[in-house]
């Protein structure tokens, strides 16, 4: 076989390619919102409520307005003349929610007035100079008490503070009527059960704590009636749509830019009041304005996550066969519904099917307003809550039946040959193969050895426990039928002159590494070097359309759109190549991309270089009949279904007998996210997810006092997990591709937060089981564990 000169390009998909974005990020060469400085830019500061609940009696802005360098001071009521209530992205009934409170405040941190000033310090001084008088109202803090008659209420028209109530159950949902098929089957299943485990569990409130707080710069240019908004957001296209609507502009008059974004974890999906206010005030003062959130504001006003109380009952036969599940869930959603608030807890019930065959399910959900920061998505968004409740209950069942927790789970797994599998909630699990994953995890962890190690430690008087969890989650959000914003993703691929490639993606990364993974995919697709590819994102004037990055969708949906656009560009390129190779009479279908050339498969001597063909596409003389010049294609990808990755996590926890301090000594995660483009990046996603999932299990909690005052509004009280708190993670995987996208990739962004939390709590409960403990609320506070030990007289 003849060869041609030139490099041999290794395939990159599946390789541990280092993140191309990291050098600029870690060398201070990246542009975040706060790095944006425009001529004549003014600065915003918000006057915020320092009480949880009250009627605004008066606001005196005179002292602030009189300060030199202060351009404008405006109250919520004044702003409401320009800015209406904020839109939400769910179909649930919601009270009006203004960017800046107009008449009542409902949580500490809610804005009541805004200052525009020459610099940030002055703006803050002026905000402090605003005097607000309130008629204080009783704070509603406990969601269960909030639902009782006689409780103070937050919103007119929402009796007993109830925002949403839903109920479904029985042997499945009738897809036609969305009604339960046979609810009496639930009671029957519980009546016939040999054993029922019941537990009230709190999945506590968390602060997402992205490393970069929120921030926005808005510039309205009156001359051309055009608004540009730079924001630390996960989804610039949604930002554009909503800001345009709030400003009375068309989408063609708004450009939204997410520059470098330092983490989102779900809290930067929502479009916030500050973003609308910045846009409106830029138009009002005819100057660009900037607002950068400080860390205190981040704790008080960036959406919180979780905060679900579950009453869980699980029924089974003595042999471990699960007969049914009942879940009554109360979601404390805080003071308002923002973009996805009311939808997140609905995912909890849907995902509580887990990896099991559940003959019957009853699910009751009540979402309740309280005088706290609104909740929305936080890494995992509904799934960690559901899987926590379920995997804790399954573990309790194993203990009750004295069965190995792995074997109890195995017994109830959905068998591999039943996929695609319809759950009680009406989801269709795309693919699954749970037993090999369980076996691999048991093997990697050395489960039997761990049990022996635990028992030996106990014999020495130490308090040690092992825990296991098995999760399934939902990724790749779409399809459009279930995502309020639309569930597709968009991508553009342009082969430039000279054979370099520029691609755009609407999946706006903010830490996911798509500049690397997407380039790997294109490098393989076109067989060109990674360096020849640029991935652009985060700017609606560059990326024509998009939805954004959340719900572990960027690879499964965004990646699929990319590969579809690349396919179109590649097909056209082959047509140009075939024209260039016309003396060989080759058909485009016979051509392949190989080592920087476009060649007849198996015959590299019949080829043109990638660059030659790209150049020809832009100066096509003669233009092949029926073709347009150029190589720029785009695709929208609409997934037919979600993807359902799964995995098994195993951990070991040791507790200090005298102090109650827990220590995580071992953490094993075997995840299955389908086909993997870049194992290094997948590992990174799992590492971060584990840290946050363990953070929930062991450390983190947003706490309010009885007056609705936050007591964890700084890192001096809110316990973030640190590297030294975590053991070296032991990771492995299995691969069960999804049929719903051409990549077979499922998504991995949230996996770590879903499996690890119940796993670690299960280990802690196992550790304290000899003290008669059957459940421990999160986080695993040392004092909490110490008390459980003391209650048993310190004796196991």
């Amino acid at each position: 076989m003849t060869t041609v000169d030139g490099p041999v390009l290794p395939k990159l998909i599946g390789e541990r390619v280092k993140r191309r974005e990291d050098p600029r990020l870690i060398q201070g060469q990246a542009t975040y919102v706060d790095d944006i400085k425009l001529p004549g830019m003014l600065h915003l500061a918000f006057k915020r409520s320092d009480i949880a609940h009250g009627v605004i009696r008066s606001i005196d802005t005179s002292a602030a307005a009189a300060m030199e360098g202060v351009e404008l001071v405006i109250t919520g009521a004044e702003l409401a003349e320009t800015l209406g209530p904020m839109p939400i992205g769910t179909p649930f009934p919601a009270p009006d929610h203004y960017s800046v409170a107009t008449d009542k405040v409902r949580y500490v941190g809610e804005p009541v007035a805004v200052v525009v000033a020459e610099d940030r310090y002055l703006a803050r001084d002026a905000a402090d100079a605003i005097e607000v008088e309130y008629d204080e109202l009783p704070a509603v803090v406990d969601p269960e008490a909030a639902m009782e008659a006689g409780s103070a209420t937050l919103h007119e028209g929402f009796e007993r503070n109830i925002a949403v109530e839903s109920y479904w159950g029985g042997t499945g949902v009738n897809p036609e009527t969305a009604q339960p098929e046979d609810d009496s089957a639930v009671d029957a299943a519980f009546a016939e059960a040999d054993v029922v485990v019941s537990q009230r569990m709190l999945n506590q409130r968390l602060a997402p704590n992205a490393m970069e707080p929120r921030g926005v710069v808005a510039q309205y240019e009156p001359g051309r009636e055009y608004l540009t908004v730079w924001s630390a957001t996960q989804n610039p296209h949604i930002l554009r749509t909503l800001v345009a609507a709030m400003m009375g502009l068309g989408e063609h008059q708004v450009r939204a830019v997410a520059p470098e974004v330092g983490g989102g974890f779900g809290c930067k999906i929502n479009i916030y009041g500050e973003e609308y206010v910045a846009a409106a005030l830029s138009r009002m003062v005819k100057a660009p304005v900037k607002w950068i959130e400080d860390r205190t504001e981040a704790f008080l006003t960036t959406t919180h996550g979780r905060d679900l109380l579950g009453y869980i009952d699980l029924a089974a036969k003595n042999d471990g066969t699960i007969l049914g599940l009942k879940a009554r869930i109360i979601a404390d959603i805080g003071a308002y519904e923002v973009l996805l608030t009311a939808m997140i807890p609905t995912l909890t019930g849907l995902m509580m099917n887990g990896v099991y065959r559940l003959p019957v399910v009853r699910h009751e959900l009540t979402e309740v307003f309280t005088n706290k920061t609104p909740t929305d998505a936080y890494r995992g968004a509904g799934r960690p809550e559901g899987l926590y409740f379920l995997e804790r209950a399954v573990d309790m069942l194993a203990r009750e039946l004295d069965m190995d927790p792995a074997e109890l789970r195995r017994k109830n797994f959905i068998p591999t040959d039943e996929f695609p599998f319809a759950t009680q909630g009406g989801l269709i699990y795309d693919s699954g193969n749970y037993e090999p994953c369980l076996d691999k995890a048991l093997d990697v962890a050395g489960w039997q050895e761990m049990l022996a190690e635990r028992d030996a430690a106990r014999a020495e008087g130490r308090i040690v426990g092992v825990g296991l969890s098995f999760y399934v989650e939902v990724c790749g959000l779409g399809p459009s039928a279930v995502v309020p914003t639309g569930g597709w993703e968009h991508s553009g691929v342009t082969v430039e002159r000279g054979g370099k490639v520029t691609a755009t993606t609407g999946a706006s990364p903010h830490g996911q590494g798509n500049e690397t993974t997407f380039a790997q995919m294109l490098a393989d697709h076109f067989s060109i070097p990674l360096e020849d590819i640029t991935i652009l994102h985060g700017d609606t004037s560059v990326v024509k359309q998009g939805i954004g990055t959340f719900g572990s969708r960027s690879q499964a949906v965004g990646g699929a759109a990319l590969i579809s656009a690349a396919g179109k560009a590649g097909d056209k390129m082959k047509q140009f190549a075939a024209a260039l190779l016309s003396e060989h009479e080759v058909a485009p279908e016979d051509l392949v991309f190989e080592d920087g050339r476009i060649q007849v498969a198996g015959a590299p001597e019949v080829s043109k270089t990638f660059a030659e063909v790209a150049d020809f596409a832009y100066i096509p003389v003669p233009l092949p009949p029926g073709m347009e010049p150029g190589l720029s294609e785009e695709s929208f990808f609409e997934p037919e279904n979600n993807t359902y990755p799964f995995g098994c996590h195993i951990s070991m926890v040791e507790v200090d007998r005298e102090t109650g301090e827990p220590k995580l000594v071992k953490m094993v995660a075997v995840d299955d996210c389908g086909n993997v483009i870049n194992p290094l990046i997948v590992d990174g996603q799992v590492h971060g997810g584990l840290a946050q999932g363990i953070g929930q299990a062991m450390f983190e909690e947003v706490v309010y006092d009885e007056d609705g005052q936050p007591v964890t509004a700084s890192f001096m009280d809110y316990v973030m997990p640190r590297a030294a708190d975590l053991p070296t993670f032991e990771l492995d995987n299995t691969v069960t591709p999804t049929p719903v996208n051409p990549l077979g990739a499922k998504g991995v962004g949230e996996a770590g937060t879903i499996g690890s939390t119940p796993c670690v709590v299960n280990a802690a409960v196992d550790a304290l089981a000899p003290f008669g403990v059957t459940h421990i609320e999160m986080p695993l506070r040392p004092e909490r564990l110490w008390r459980l030990i003391q209650e048993n007289g310190g004796q196991s």
Partner: protein, 284 residues
């Protein structure tokens, strides 16, 4: 996270700092490592009009043995420098080890012993160690210098025997090998939820006298007199648990917050008193 307006002056000598302090009056504040003061300013809990930076002053630096055999540490020495001192590791390892267990690397690289003692956070680590070592705190004011024993210096929450126009210049204490500090960390801040320092005089396997002090549990660092009494003549390490048992119950006032209730802190005071005593005895 945005402080009010303030003026910043970098003093070139302790004398100049004293003058600036006097001129500035109640508006003026000394700035050392800034790791207690600046967080408070950012939250507008402190709003000084004038900051006088004494962080780099040579006169406030150094760790050495004095002519009368004591060890002296300058007020501007950072926790990291103290943690790295060979002299301390051999003569008074408790001080170096305690400094090494403060906060995180950034805090240790900036925070100073003078700032820690003058600020007297109820959860600060070094105050308990200074009380246990019976350290002398050297203070300079407009009327000259004076010395205060650590035990008298710490008076209440964030309250010490120090005038607004005075500067802590350093501390000195007798070398002591058989001393150790044990702390239960507040998991977010890493301050002491409860920390106990024990300095023992050992005579073979028994303790002839002891100074034991607690921080974190109460408003300020203070001695645990009952434990000290119980240790006199006790054989160690076996007698540590008995001596420490009542440590927490004897405290008048005990802090209580999200991270630890009063009863937990009392119980932990006994646990960490025992651990500190055992560790100190182990050095004997």
């Amino acid at each position: 996270m945005i402080p009010t307006t303030f003026e910043y002056r970098r003093a070139t000598s302790v004398a100049e700092a004293l003058t600036l302090l006097q001129e500035g009056g109640p508006e003026a504040k000394l700035l050392a490592g800034g790791h207690s003061l600046i967080p408070m300013m950012k939250q507008r809990l402190a709003e000084p009009g004038l900051l006088i930076d004494i962080g780099g002053l040579d006169e406030l630096r150094g760790i050495q043995e004095t002519d009368d055999g004591e060890i002296a540490i300058g007020a501007a020495m950072t926790h990291a420098e103290i943690a790295a001192s060979d002299l301390l590791h051999t003569q008074a390892p408790i001080v170096a080890e305690t400094a090494a267990a403060i906060g995180d690397a950034q805090v240790r690289n900036r925070g100073t012993i003078g700032g820690s003692l003058a600020h007297a956070d109820p959860g600060a680590d070094l105050p308990a160690v200074m009380v246990a070592l019976d350290a002398t705190i050297a203070i300079l004011g407009p009327n000259g210098d004076r010395k205060v024993q650590a035990d008298d210096f710490f008076q209440d929450i964030l309250t010490v025997d120090l005038g607004e126009d005075e500067i802590v210049t350093g501390v000195c204490f007798q070398a002591c090998r058989s001393a150790a500090y044990a702390k239960l960390e507040q998991r977010a801040s890493k301050f002491a939820l409860v920390g106990v320092a024990a300095a023992l005089s050992l005579d073979g396997g028994s303790c002839s006298s002891a100074r034991v002090a607690v921080t974190g549990a109460s408003s300020h660092a203070q001695r645990l007199g009952g434990v000290e009494d119980a240790l006199a003549g006790a054989s160690l390490p076996d007698g540590a648990a008995d001596a420490a048992a009542g440590a927490g119950d004897a405290l008048d006032f005990v802090n209580e917050d999200l991270h630890g209730s009063e009863s937990y802190r009392r119980a932990m005071t006994a646990v960490f008193a025992r651990r500190a005593i055992e560790a100190a005895a182990g050095r004997g």
